[in-house]
Symmetry: D2
């Protein structure tokens, strides 16, 4: 349920609305907008009798939301969410490029890559420190050491940094180092982790589960926002289908559909979707053409030597070529 | 197996190679290229002992093809296939737009739409006359009358025309009217129909089965070419996955992968992939950005009144907007 | 729409009902049942005003059917359909075993296998004569010669025979030899072939498309029945999913669901679902345990020498073992 | 890599082998069998030069394992793993029935159901206390209170109990109450949770991710065993496909395939696969017929009043009917 306030509504009346909602045992979420404030009610299984609220001064109307998700919905908040970072922002008529290696491998490696990227249109550096690996016997990342190198590189080259969190226990460590916390595809329905992320004051980069519907994806984001963290970035990274020429099937239609359903920014990850280096450029172009707010790309100064995801990592040269084309498409 | 001829090879020696291959009980296919001719051998289960062939004058080398498909393969024919039509061509650094209504509904309807399209960048008019319908109780199309109207419209407005064939029996009727014969998704592995198409001298527009791998798709095209018809246009129109927000999931990665595997032109059909009008523009842009040679789009002067596929049919106004953006992307 | 007649309704009044329906431009289908006759109306897009019909003597009531399919529906015909063959029947509390090689390879081969099967619980012999093959270069079957051998074997060992039809053109040839006509998975939405099958007086064995929903499957059967042939046998043979350990994923749940939706018999084909010999027994047992009316199994006296589908074909010994277990499960 | 010891090998020599392996920086796992002990080496990326090991007394041979998983593999341990519980065991020629409500709702509810089940063939009681819910606004379970009631019911009626763990943080709480710890489908690749489970001395019930390949499933189990906990029970609970008549598609073929790949017991969960009450019996029968070691079924004394999963929960009466049939099939 939404309580739409008049443009002229006083702050104290907005607070009054919230207080009444809370006194009924529900949660209230203030959603400020350019032309008016909306108070969203969550936690109500049954319908709320709104008489008490409608009589408060400054309340314009009450709207019942039909979707299972609320706080992520465009119905509730029509304006694009913009995620502010120290050196840039994500969302709303702006293409953000997140680039870097699959995993931080050494201080030298991440500094070398960060330097190259900082000379280009990149403001956000990626690098895995704790890696989710299908096999217990695969390289699991450098851990905190990796985060340290990543943070130093970010500082030196004025880049925001992003790295993946694997569990609630190591959450504080990652949160301490990075500017954006990534939750991976396999953890999209790790509800404890989502709740933890909802209590962080850092933006959350949420990857779609590779077999999740868009409804489930938005409900995962709703978990985060309903705990108090409104800064969620969605990422489409391919779904699992019968098609076996690529690792996953990039669900390109998800982008325009999500744009309608939600106000959150949407990033495309062509590297993990394809799993093949040569597809990164065409899928990047397609993603931006379909309306994505940006790209997350695995780039390495020496792709063939990358310790993980080598097959899908592109070189600085390929990255340059890609950027120049993206810059044209994004103007359309 | 491929027999690669010297650039200077004489025509009579190429014929000699073919004759020897045929005498062994196999088929030979001459594939002329800008720099040399290749003779492709099909129908051989076992390896052919090539001594007899290697000694013929003008034979440069023999190459064994590792893929299950041969004639469609870029390995066999590196140059893009270009399909020539009366008023335009499809393939190789050129964007072709095929547009028109789902079904021909009346003389007036198809003339009105054809006139509008002919004023724009459209050279090929689509329109179903025999419709494949999931239910026996749905509108099945106007039949031959529909083809007649379509042909008249094509003539009047100088448009090539395309329509779908449903079976071998009605093949001659469709072949008689249209410039391009369409084989639909549900018939992609109708092998009798593919063989029939292989004996036609009209280009074949082959839609990918909605659950077919790219390998199966190319083998379906191989059926057509191996019967003697080299003019095949491939069409990606969405695959069936668990994702349920769109009718099908456009497999955008298929485009760059097919471009590597085959020399045949690839068209994207965003209308059937999405099943939703609003997605036609973003998916069209994504398709061209990913490298497609063109688009097939359902357009109607009055989309809401369309007798079939109304939900995915766009208006002339939306079509105009789309075209202007496509024209920029295709230059990249 | 259904016109339910009284138990005591006279034949002439049933005819009267049909005549009125036809005079309105629709089709009428008489569906006799043990306790009463029902007349099903198809071809009506809009609602029919039933006053004219309700006043006819013997008409009990009019029922509107909510499903897109009608004639295949249990709602329309609650009693199981039983398909009568010269030496046995299929459907309704009876397990039918259809067995034989993937393809008829020679007179000797099919006679040898037929003899072995006839000594066991088998009344129906399968054998492909025209084979649908993904590649144009694979073995395409013996054609009419294969049908001839199959028919001779059926006659000699008192077996009904079944073989696949690939197109409308060869339909009369297959129809001439076999007792049951098979329409394969790739042709499930070949609507011309379905209509042709609907005009045959031989039972049709319809395999589910490997990416078809149950709704589409039943509408394909509806195509056949609506043309006048009520004798359709459904076959679940596996669907295409991401799971890659088997050729297809046997959709075991389809069996109990179809049993509720339709009165038609349902056969399970574990051989094509799995593509692996060792899985034939467990999947056969599972199929019968889930409620199937029978099995179609690829059996060969020398599986390793089979010209096609060798990997999924079982030996006579394995078949014996399987039959003994099936006989227990079917009693549950 | 496996070091196979002679039957007569002395304990001290087995220890010697382990010590050498550990000194090389790898892990060693002793796998005792009825006829001999095997030492499995994990953590080696590269090949180990086995001279040092082969010369130890009692070493019979060294076998290189080709699969990505090792400890779960039948190649490594041919004998079925049997999980011992206080009142029963799971695995190896025995059908185990795990039954109970989706969620523990109250002391009365779980006691009433436990009493009914204990009168039947049930030795293991299920009941969710911490529920993974797609929406943050759905009923999330009673938490520790629920575990307490479950444990009291288990004690009173001599039932082992199983409940789901959602995260590493609450792991010790669940571990403290239950006899078997369940890891749900959405957590199958929550690697931190798997590692935690690997350090527990309670058996782990691992549900297959609804889009996981069998390879990924076994590698998830490998995570647990490689940390030291050999007691893993696998559960097939349906995969996500295009098929939309059931919530998920029970992958019945997975059972016989897993039986070949691994020595771990395999349980089928028909309730979650189908999501429809009427399908529980046919899918249970099919699961056992296909070779499963048991079933996990949602049963409630008043299914329609169940707070969660009501649509797929069966009554005690239906459960009785099901059990009597299962008992026949399992003898085959």
């Amino acid at each position: 349920m939404l309580v739409v306030m008049e443009k002229s509504a006083k702050k104290e009346n907005i607070e009054k609305v919230c207080k009444i909602i809370e006194s009924m045992g529900y949660k209230s979420h203030k959603i400020p907008g350019p032309s008016r404030t909306v108070v969203c009610v969550t936690g109500n299984d049954k319908k709320i009798y709104p008489e008490k609220i409608l009589t408060i001064e400054g309340v314009k109307e009450i709207v019942h939301v039909s979707k299972p998700y609320k706080l992520v919905s465009r119905e509730v908040k029509p304006d694009d969410t913009v995620i502010k970072l120290k050196n840039t922002s994500i969302g709303s008529n702006k293409i953000s490029i997140i680039a870097g290696p699959c995993a931080v491998e050494s201080r030298e490696q991440i500094f070398e890559i960060a330097e190259e990227l900082s000379k280009r249109d990149v403001k956000i550096l990626r690098g895995g420190a704790y890696k989710p690996r299908t096999s217990p016997y695969s390289f699991q990342g450098l851990g905190e050491k990796g985060l340290e190198y990543l943070a130093l590189a970010g500082e030196k080259f004025n880049l925001s940094i992003i790295s993946e969190v694997l569990d609630t226990e190591s959450f504080p460590i990652i949160e301490n180092y990075v500017d954006i916390i990534q939750i991976g595809s396999r953890n999209m329905q790790n509800f404890s982790l989502l709740k933890k992320a909802g209590k962080s004051n850092k933006p959350i980069f949420l990857k779609r589960g590779f077999s999740s519907t868009l409804n489930e994806f938005l409900l995962a984001a709703e978990y985060i926002i309903s705990e108090g963290n409104p800064n969620v970035i969605l990422c489409e990274r391919g779904i699992r289908t019968f098609s076996n020429e690529t690792r996953f099937t990039l669900d390109i239609s998800a982008i325009p559909i999500l744009k309608k359903m939600t106000h959150l920014p949407i990033i495309v990850d062509p590297s993990h979707a394809a799993g093949i280096r040569d597809l990164v450029e065409p899928l990047s172009k397609a993603g931006i053409a379909a309306g994505a707010d940006g790209l997350m790309i695995e780039v390495h100064t020496n792709p063939d030597a990358a310790l993980s995801d080598s097959a899908q990592t592109i070189s600085i040269e390929s990255f340059d070529k890609l950027l120049s084309k993206i810059n044209v498409i994004k103007t359309l």
